[in-house]
Symmetry: C2
Amino acid sequence: MAGATLDFWFEFASTYSYLSAMRIQDLARRCDVVVRWRPFLLGPIFAAQGWPTSPFNVYPAKGRYMWRDMDRLTKARDLPFTRPDPFPRNGLLAARIALAAGPQMPAFCRAVYTAQFGGGADIADPQVLQNCLAQADLSVTLLDAGQDPAIKTELRHQTDRAIALGLFGAPSFTVGEEVFWGDDRLEAALDWAAPD
Amino acid sequence: MAGATLDFWFEFASTYSYLSAMRIQDLARRCDVVVRWRPFLLGPIFAAQGWPTSPFNVYPAKGRYMWRDMDRLTKARDLPFTRPDPFPRNGLLAARIALAAGPQMPAFCRAVYTAQFGGGADIADPQVLQNCLAQADLSVTLLDAGQDPAIKTELRHQTDRAIALGLFGAPSFTVGEEVFWGDDRLEAALDWAAPD
């Protein structure tokens, strides 16, 4: 199936998006699927559902479970894991920079996720993001994307598109209109994109 | 690992519990895990979160996704699937009968899930449950469990225990205090109960 593509919708503040960001390229390569990385913002989507913050804060039992689940999953996958405090971090600036990162977007995103969930760093801090740019061999001038009107508009459009697709959480994967939600659906989404 | 046990927490109205109910015995047998079937009620747990009905109704985007996800999963697993209308059904009577069903509880539960999600039947209807009892080789007199004060108390206690364990959805699986949520965590829960 040459030409199979999958859209990977992620929010930088999302714990489970970290899990997918760290493994999606390897998995996709194995089944010849091209991944389009699509940062978007969950904030507006959660706000529309009446949640002023992450549902993991709004619903404490769900939150407690998520942190334990992340402990188990990161351990099983040999990924570093530190709980950011406070949670969630603000991923707006990181998302804008990601949109400006071109072919290096995946490398930049992995650096951001690792800084945040591996090291507990505040990804709203430009200094943290500067280090992430360096790790992805990108110029520090990309920090300016945070103030670029075209990039701001692009991120808003991307979030609108996520809403139009029916997305309500992250990570999500789409193949055309077909939606898969959650890191545990990544394999199913890839299989949908490129059936054996 | 002789003696490994896993508690399977399910709500009859829950779509994803259907998926687990239909496969848990076979999977558990393969890894020598004894499953304790624990019906409980999500209604009081959802109400405490401010939801008057299933979150799949409260949050329409999540609901639309769930139905599509169930379509895909039941097809992949060769399970019949009909969307109950209205949804959710009231699983109270079925849960009380299940608690009275003794060693035949799993067979009764599978019959209830198949009637509801395979055939779209209303599992609050005593006639439907009478058929389910017959399919599990149980006496129709178990319908009386719906009015049995001891059974009513037992179901309330079971739901209280679910809350104490931090459960917030179904299916959930517990191994001691360790909680796994969702049909897609069943394998991980079994592996926790009986590591290779």
